[in-house]
């Protein structure tokens, strides 16, 4: 790596490398989309990208402001309905990777994208959309979020999307289909979940990030060993593609 890169670029690259050729992914706008397009332009040309609104494998030439933005639908392979994407493709188990974001994530990987509790009550934000369903049915879950003490918490205020629920095998016991893994990519590190207890654990620290940075910004107790792995750095090619082909207007990177 010879050029400088931004944290968003690193996050996009990290997510991109977790995608495999032939994967079917459900994405939303922003870094998930950027990561998917980068994977498609590099090691995963056969990636299938699904937008829950009913669009499969478009070739957008402009970034949009959300999945309801027609910019995202250009040159698509297939138009279908919400039931067609989430009720058929996803629910049948054909989605390998689901990207999610959220207001809060807890130590079991449960996600809240609905409301936050305040002293005076609660404040409703956006609601689930397809997020709960993606968390339920996708085989691998990638959460992309800003690292913040108030966002990475012991227990989310509201479970919009089920992660490992209360750890151990509580997810299975609740009747929720099993997933292969959940990973959280923040601006400081990558988290995974402990094999047995299903609680948050560090997978890798981003280059230049100290264990202390993570501990201070995480609202959950997490153990970071001295020999914690380092997140791989972007290659020149990845950065070139991000800046020149995928997000030239730098809307998300």
């Amino acid at each position: 790596m010879t050029v400088e890169y931004t944290t968003n670029e690193l996050m996009a690259v990290t997510a991109s490398r977790l995608l495999r050729d032939g994967d079917n992914v459900v994405v939303g706008l922003g870094l998930p989309q950027i990561a998917s397009l980068l994977a498609k332009a590099t090691h995963a040309p056969g990636l299938n990208i699904v937008y829950e609104i009913g669009v499969i494998n478009p070739d957008a030439v402009e970034m949009g402001v959300g999945i309801a933005d027609p910019r995202l639908w250009h040159n698509t392979e297939h138009f279908t309905s919400f039931v067609g994407t989430l009720g058929h493709v996803l629910q049948k188990g054909l989605i390998d990777v689901g990207f999610l974001g959220g207001l809060q994530v807890d130590k079991y990987g449960n996600i809240n994208s609905t409301l936050v509790k305040t002293e005076s009550g609660s404040r409703h934000i956006n609601g689930s959309g397809g997020a709960a369903d993606i968390a339920c049915f996708a085989r691998r879950i990638l959460v992309i979020m800003k690292h913040d003490k108030r966002k990475l918490v012991e227990n989310v205020d509201f479970i919009t999307s089920v992660g490992h629920l209360r750890g151990l095998d509580t997810r299975r016991k609740e009747g929720v289909p099993q997933c292969e893994y959940i990973k959280i990519i923040t601006n400081l590190c990558v988290f995974g979940f402990d094999e047995d207890e299903k609680v948050l654990k560090i997978e890798s620290l981003h280059p230049g990030v100290a264990a202390r940075d993570v501990l201070e910004n995480t609202g959950v107790k997490v153990h970071i060993p001295d020999n914690a792995a380092k997140t791989g750095e972007p290659t020149d090619e990845e950065i070139y593609l991000l800046r020149n082909r995928i997000d030239p207007l730098k809307m998300y990177i």
């Binding site: 989430l86 009720g87 089920v162």
Partner: protein, 302 residues
Amino acid sequence: MKSKVMELSQAVGEIPESNAHLALGGFAIARNPIAFVNEIIRQGKKELNVYQTVAGMDTDLLVGAGAVKKLAYSGGSLDRFGRLERINEAIDQGRLDIREYSGLSISLRFLAGSMGIPFIPTKSLLGTDMLRDLIRKNDDSIKIETSPFDGEKYVYLKSLQPDFAVIHAQYADEKGNVIIEGPLWDVEMAKSAKKLYVTVEKIVSTEFVKRNPEKVAIPSMYTHAVIEVPYGAFPTAVYKAYDYDKDFLANYAKTNKNAGEYKKFLEEYVFGTRNHNEFLEKAGGLARLNGIKADPVFGYKA
């Protein structure tokens, strides 16, 4: 042959003054039936029960106007422009009987309704606080059951057939064959209703329909009324017709954060206009609309 063509005011007039069950077809900033919703507000309908997969400006307007008693949906937004703050505030203040689903689970309720079956079993919603809240509210759309086939736990979602559904589409013929360009998120919802109202950019001939049978998303038997309202989704986007109006939306997203500002917006744009053409004039008229015309290749303002 009986034509299903109606005037907007006449169509909205068919909805009872109070307590109607109404499904809306907008999704964030795309194909919101804005003209229809504004007319509902003008005609002073009250105590609506609204159903929607992913809400947009349409339902935010209705809730803000105090027309909605109960809302069943999976959330929504104005995409990056902002949030549905009239809805959010009504929820926070306990003024709305809110029933939250995941996007799939409420869509499956529409699907069951469109198929005339009593319910659909799914894993969707299991473990979520949406499910806990629905159960806590004794919502009658939900049962947790064990499938007699695999012995697994499922949510049985009750079929939903709202009295009225409203969508905005590009084209329909007088018989009610509806052509939709782009994604079809609202099709099961549209087909689930007892009476489907479709506002369209243009009423077309059945000959045009027959030249494009693959684009007919809803065959005529589902459709109760076809209403021609050009720019009927403004300021939201209609693929291949016009783009969303980003300034109008950005302004609305500022306005809807504050009850007072929203009220002024409503007075000026909805109560201050007698119909959708006047609403469009107020918004800037032809000059503004020409500025968002869709490029024929891209389907948005390229």
